[in-house]
């Protein structure tokens, strides 16, 4: 007769849950960065990263839209029939984009003018629709919020990285307060780099170049890490093999000693 088995609580389970939430957030920043890993949202990444401030502004807007739409999609996912999932999600995303557009125009008018057509274009940012269908429609509201924030932050940081690079190379300076509704306007960095007249980095070509450069760097880093991991694992396996061989030898010797 089979032994009755009882479910045993895993004392480590709680720890694992915490790690999952953090991982959920952090994955969007590094491991599953929308721009440098998934290559999503490249249109705004090229168009509005000519300055750090506009990149930051767009990033904030995307965080808001992504988080809000993830939450709402997660809440209504069981109410929406499969056939109309996509159009329903699009309506939700478009609603938040419209709201964000109105709020920007009301409270950050210069940013609204600077971002222009790219605010309404957030609707067609595949990152947002992608997370809605790939994650929010399959997970609970809280996890969806975390995912949205994480992905949004990752998107924003990536945009800022591109933006700061382009602005410095093109103008030699980083200015702040021109577009965002801040009570000051300041130049964070001011160099003589503008003398090199690298205005190409202001335009689309510059955007492509910078994205390409960063992609190359991150891919190289990622490949290096992968290689290191693989080497480490290989070394660990070899070690394990050695230990097993030692154990076998010992056992054989013991048996030989006994029989002797």
């Amino acid at each position: 007769m089979a032994e009755n088995k009882k479910a045993v609580k895993n004392p480590n389970q709680k720890k694992k849950k915490k790690a999952t939430q953090f991982d959920n957030f952090f994955k969007g920043v590094v491991r599953e960065n929308p721009i440098f890993v998934f290559l999503l949202g490249l249109c705004p990444a090229l168009a509005v990263t000519n300055t750090l401030e506009t990149a930051l502004g767009m990033g904030i807007l995307v965080i808001f839209v992504l988080t809000a739409s993830n939450l709402v999609v997660s809440l209504i996912k069981n109410l929406i029939p499969d056939q109309i999932q996509i159009p329903a999600y699009i309506v939700v995303i478009a609603t938040f984009v419209t709201i964000v557009g109105l709020l920007t125009e009301a409270y950050a008018f210069e940013l609204h003018q600077a971002l222009g057509i790219f605010i309404p274009l957030i609707v067609v940012n595949c990152l947002i629709m992608g997370r809605a269908t790939a994650y929010a429609s399959k997970n609970g509201p809280f996890n969806s919020i975390i995912d949205g924030v994480g992905m949004g932050v990752g998107f924003m940081l990536a945009m800022m990285l591109i933006g700061v690079s382009r602005e410095i190379l093109a103008t030699g300076a980083i200015t702040f307060g021109r577009y965002l509704p801040l009570p000051f306007e300041v130049s964070l960095i001011d160099t003589d780099m503008y003398m090199f007249n690298m205005e190409v980095f202001v335009g689309p070509a510059g955007g492509f170049i910078m994205i390409g450069v960063f992609l190359a760097i991150f891919t190289a880093i990622g490949n290096y890490n992968k290689r290191k991991k693989a080497e480490a694992r290989q070394a660990w396996i070899e070690q394990k093999k050695k230990e097993a061989a030692e154990r076998k030898k010992r056992k054989a010797m013991e048996e030989a000693g006994d029989s002797a």
Binding site: I80, I84, V91, T98, I99, L102, A106, I117, G203
Partner: protein, 991 residues
């Protein structure tokens, strides 16, 4: 149902919630957004006018401009105005602010808000507009942001217009003010048509509306320093006179004297009886003479023309070295230049004497000139020379209109049409030229509509679309419309997807041409006396000879260096060949010798201008076989006699080969079959004669006509021809190898050789042409009986199959004379199955899918040919004599008498009926040989009644209802044939 309801409800709720959220946020933010916009706008105002202290804004009711702001400086002086305009272009909305100073200068133009792509609109050179006078604004042409810049341009123009309006300044010229008084609000602009020198009027203007349609013509003169305009309709009806707004009222009394003339045609005005301002009376007199003596021309560089006894004098107006030159070109009735005069010029006398006058005679006698060559004539006086050449070229082109060769069309799209002929000079149809707005600019098209009203060709004559754009989106799809008689917008939208604007222009052109052609199929509408025959000379002659209309003709052979020029196959409107025509020259006119399909002489014919009774001298020959006629009996003019003799020898010596590749003729000699073929060679068509031995090998190859030189032929061809002798196939020969250095001519020779061997393989040997019967082409005697060769479409191409039928009327053998099916495939699917047909006297009950499973197409062709052969054998299998009769087709001798076979329409289809009549004129046999009536039906209604005819020596066709009760149609056919046979037999047959 419930599920669908749930879906609808869900979407509705989602939509309502979304809408509600947006409305809420919008309500909360509305005021603040408006504030921000206004602040931003004020900042924009500040940017335009840095000295601005305040702005007084007012809303404007206008389609484009919605706000006007008066700008004041710190001293409260108005320093300018800003106009805000909106437009929606291909890329979205755009709002533009236009700042104008009180000195009538553009201060600055900037884009306030827009959805247009930033990279485009931000690069627009708006700074170029700043500082320009509002009276004459120059816009950049190459901005890289066409849509956005067009919006800026439009808004700027409207802003300037409103600015002037608000400043109470009339932007219109004096001339336009006067013209608007005469023609009303429709008058939008005017074009200087001609300026007169020292005449009662200064200038003739063409008045146009906003669509550039002509409203009329006006003439200006001065009265006490004030402009006076006399306005007429395009037909020269007087509309009225006016001056500019400032002077019009002052001159109202002067104008009142002539008010009664309004509505009169200029030629009807009695100038001598006029009273009033003399300058105006002189103007009327001048205009009257002008209109009576000359006709106006609305073509570039041309002004007027007048007809003279010698031809036409065309006056042109073109820009020269100093000013506009007036040039007169005199053309004869034949369109040749007889004189050119520089009537008016500002060039100095010495200049004209040295560089112009000596060269004006250079064009005398010309009816067509090359523009660049003509310019060279005036070396040293290029600008004046160019003005003269422009006028000459335009005048020569216009002669086509005057002469009737070109018909001008007053249409939104179409401009003209003319007859279109192919390379052989045959009339194809009418060529329509027209214009329609395309992607970049106006596209000019030539569309040919053939005589059936279908599109024959489409050509883009002028366009600013790039070649790559045309190659990618336009040219590949133009062919889709060839042959169409109707075009829909959907069809062009589909065909030119990705090129909508250009596709729309093509649709406009095609539909305009087809529609106009349908309404006006006859070219040169006007007096019947002036109407030209649209048919080609050849068709005129052919229809004259055959005595029929709506005929068609195709070239069969072009005779090199012969009395007869070409042989044509003539067909009727049903496409049936009715005969042959041979063209020859009859005192410079096109004439033909006409033969019917059996080569009986039909008569002569000629083109309309040369038609008279050609056939009175040859009446006796009409209807006779051309081969057997003794032409010496007829007294004909040399051209006719030579042509007739040539045709006779051609028909006697050769047999036509029709629709067999390059082959034209064949004949038999004692030991060869000789074929003549035509194929394109190095320079032109080569006529090649190839003789084939009876064993199917080539005996000789001759180039009987070629444009290649003898030396070249000696070097490259003649020796190589020997390589073909003795061959029964040329498939393994390559023109590049066999005729190295003479590939084109070599290819033409091999092409003809290949066709010859193919044709000879089928038609050579002992096979003879059969009677026309289904798929059967040839017959020959066979040791087992008769062999019949038929042609039917198979798996790959036509199959030529020979069927041997024995004396019992059964199939004994079937073989492929020619097929494109592979031997392996035939082995797999055909050959084994052929055995099932042997011994059969009918294959009608066999199905190709069953008998030749997996080879239906070839199987069908086999069954068709076999059945046709069996049927043919039934009719023609034994010796017979053909009969030329409406009903009877042949007779043959039998033991029971003379058998007559006739064809008459029966119950389902034609019936072939045999009636045998003995020497006493009585019917001894009656049978249905071929019928589509069913056996059961025949048993019930026919066979017994047939027997009832035996012994009769006369029949009454009207008795069919009684004799063949219940089978009237078939009965009628039987009695018709019986009656015809009895009558024919009684009359002694075909003696």
């Amino acid at each position: 149902m419930l599920y669908k309801l749930r879906i609808a409800l869900t979407l509705l709720i989602v939509g309502l919630l979304s809408g509600g959220a947006i409305v809420f946020v919008h309500t909360v933010t509305e005021d603040r957004i408006q504030e921000n916009r206004e602040l931003a706008e004020l900042e924009d105002y500040q940017e335009i006018f840095p000295d601005m202290a305040r702005a007084d804004e007012e809303d404007i009711d206008h389609d484009v401009i919605d706000r006007r702001a008066k700008i004041y400086n710190a001293d409260d002086e108005q320093i300018g105005e800003i106009y805000r305009g909106h437009d929606t272009n291909n890329f979205g909305d755009i709002t533009v602010l236009v700042g104008i100073t009180m000195d009538f200068e553009i201060k600055q133009v900037l884009v306030s808000q827009t959805e247009n792509t930033p990279n485009y609109y931000q690069d627009m050179p708006l700074e170029n507009l700043a500082g320009q006078s509002t009276e004459d604004i120059t816009y950049d042409t190459n901005t890289g942001a066409t849509a956005s810049y067009n919006s800026v341009q439009m808004i700027t123009d409207y802003a300037v217009e409103l600015f002037y309006e608000f400043q109470d300044i009339d932007l219109r010229s004096s001339e336009l003010q006067a013209l608007e008084t005469i023609y009303g609000e429709d008058a939008d602009d005017y074009i200087e048509h001609f300026t007169f020198e020292d005449e009662a009027v200064h200038t003739e203007y063409r008045v146009i509306d906003e669509n550039e349609a002509t409203l009329g013509y006006a003439y200006d003169l001065d009265i006490d320093g004030e402009l006076v305009m006399l306005g007429f309709t395009p037909d020269d009806e007087f509309l009225g006179m006016a001056s500019d707004d400032d002077a019009h009222d002052d001159l109202s009394d002067v104008f009142a004297d002539f008010e009664d003339l309004e509505g009169d045609m200029i030629e009807d005005i009695d100038v001598d009886a006029l009273e009033g301002e003399q300058a105006i009376i002189d103007a009327f007199a001048f205009i009257q003479d002008l209109v009576e003596d000359t006709e106006r021309i609305e073509e570039e560089y041309l002004v007027r023309y007048r007809e003279t006894d010698e031809g036409y004098v065309i006056t042109g107006f073109a820009e020269g070295f100093n000013a506009m030159n007036v040039i007169e070109v005199t053309l004869s009735d034949d369109g040749e230049i007889t004189n050119i005069a520089l009537v008016r010029t500002d060039d100095t006398d010495d200049y004209v004497e040295d560089y112009i006058e000596p060269n004006l005679d250079a064009f005398d006698g010309e009816s067509d000139i090359d523009f660049d060559d003509a310019l060279d004539t005036f070396a040293g006086a290029s600008e004046t020379g160019e003005s003269i050449v422009n006028v000459i070229v335009a005048a020569l082109d216009y002669y086509d209109v005057l002469g009737g060769a070109v018909e001008m069309i007053d249409d939104d799209v179409l401009t003209s049409r003319e007859q279109y002929f192919d390379e052989d000079g045959d009339l194809i149809g009418l060529l329509y030229r027209g214009e329609a707005e395309g992607f970049n600019a106006t596209n000019v098209f030539d569309v040919v509509i053939d005589e059936d009203g279908a599109i024959y060709s489409i050509e883009i004559v002028e366009t600013e679309d790039t070649e790559s754009y045309l190659d990618d989106y336009i040219y590949p799809n133009l062919e889709d419309f060839i042959g169409e008689t109707d075009v829909t917008q959907d069809e062009t939208d589909d065909a030119f997807a990705g090129a909508t604007a250009s596709g729309d222009s093509i649709y406009e052109m095609l539909s305009a041409a087809l529609s106009y052609h349908a309404d006006n199929p006859e070219f040169g509408a006007g007096d019947d006396d002036d109407e030209e025959d649209p048919r080609s000379s050849e068709l005129q002659a052919i229809e004259d000879a055959f005595g029929e209309d709506d005929l068609a003709y195709d070239v069969h052979y072009q005779f090199p260096d012969a009395d007869v020029l070409k042989e044509y196959i003539v067909s009727n409107s049903d496409g049936d060949t009715i005969g042959y025509a041979y063209t020859f020259d009859l005192d410079g006119a096109v004439a033909v010798v006409a033969l019917d399909s059996d080569d009986a002489f039909l008569g002569f014919g000629a083109e309309v201008d040369a038609q008279n009774d050609h056939n009175d001298a040859v009446d006796a020959l009409i209807g006779e076989s051309i081969e057997e006629a003794d032409l010496d009996d007829f007294d004909l003019v040399d051209d006719k006699a030579d042509a007739l003799a040539f045709v006779q020898s051609q028909i006697t010596d050769y047999r036509r080969v029709i629709d067999y590749g390059s082959l034209a003729y064949a004949k038999e000699t004692d030991d060869t079959h000789v074929y003549i073929g035509v194929a394109e060679g190095h320079n032109d068509d080569n006529h090649i004669e190839i003789a084939v031995n009876f064993d199917g090998t080539i005996a000789s190859v001759d180039l009987i006509h070629t444009d290649d030189t003898n030396d070249w032929l000696d070097d490259n061809i003649y020796d190589e021809l020997e390589a073909l002798v003795g061959k029964d196939s040329v498939d393994d020969l390559d023109a590049d190898d066999t005729f190295a250095g003479a590939t084109n001519t070599g290819e033409s020779i091999l092409e003809v050789a290949e066709d010859v061997l193919f044709y000879d393989g089928i038609y050579g040997g002992e096979r003879e042409l059969s009677e026309a019967f289904g798929s059967i082409l040839l017959t020959r005697d066979h040791e087992d009986g008769k062999a019949y060769t038929g042609k039917a479409e198979g798996h790959n191409n036509d199959n030529y199959i020979e069927v041997v039928i024995d004396d019992n009327g059964e199939v004994t053998d079937i073989s492929f004379i020619h097929t494109d099916d592979t031997p392996g495939w035939l082995d797999d699917y055909i050959y084994d199955e052929l055995d099932t047909l042997f011994g059969k006297d009918s294959v009608e009950d066999l199905d190709a899918d069953d008998t030749f499973a997996g080879a239906s197409n070839t199987g069908e062709s086999i069954l068709k040919i076999v059945q046709d052969a069996l049927d043919y054998h039934l009719i023609y299998g034994e010796d017979y004599e053909s009969i030329d009769h409406d009903v009877l087709i042949l007779e043959r001798d039998t033991d029971e008498g003379t058998a007559y076979i006739g064809v008459a329409e029966g119950h389902n289809d034609d019936n072939y009926i045999e009636i045998i009549i003995d020497d006493n004129g009585a019917i001894t046999g009656a049978s249905l040989l071929l019928t589509s009536d069913t056996p059961g039906w025949l048993d019930d209604y026919i066979y017994d009644e047939l027997d009832a005819l035996i012994g009769e020596s006369s029949v009454d066709v009207s008795d069919a209802d009684d004799t063949f009760a219940g089978a009237t149609n078939t009965g009628h056919s039987i009695l018709s044939v019986a009656d015809a046979a009895l009558t024919f037999h009684a009359e002694g047959g075909d003696e």
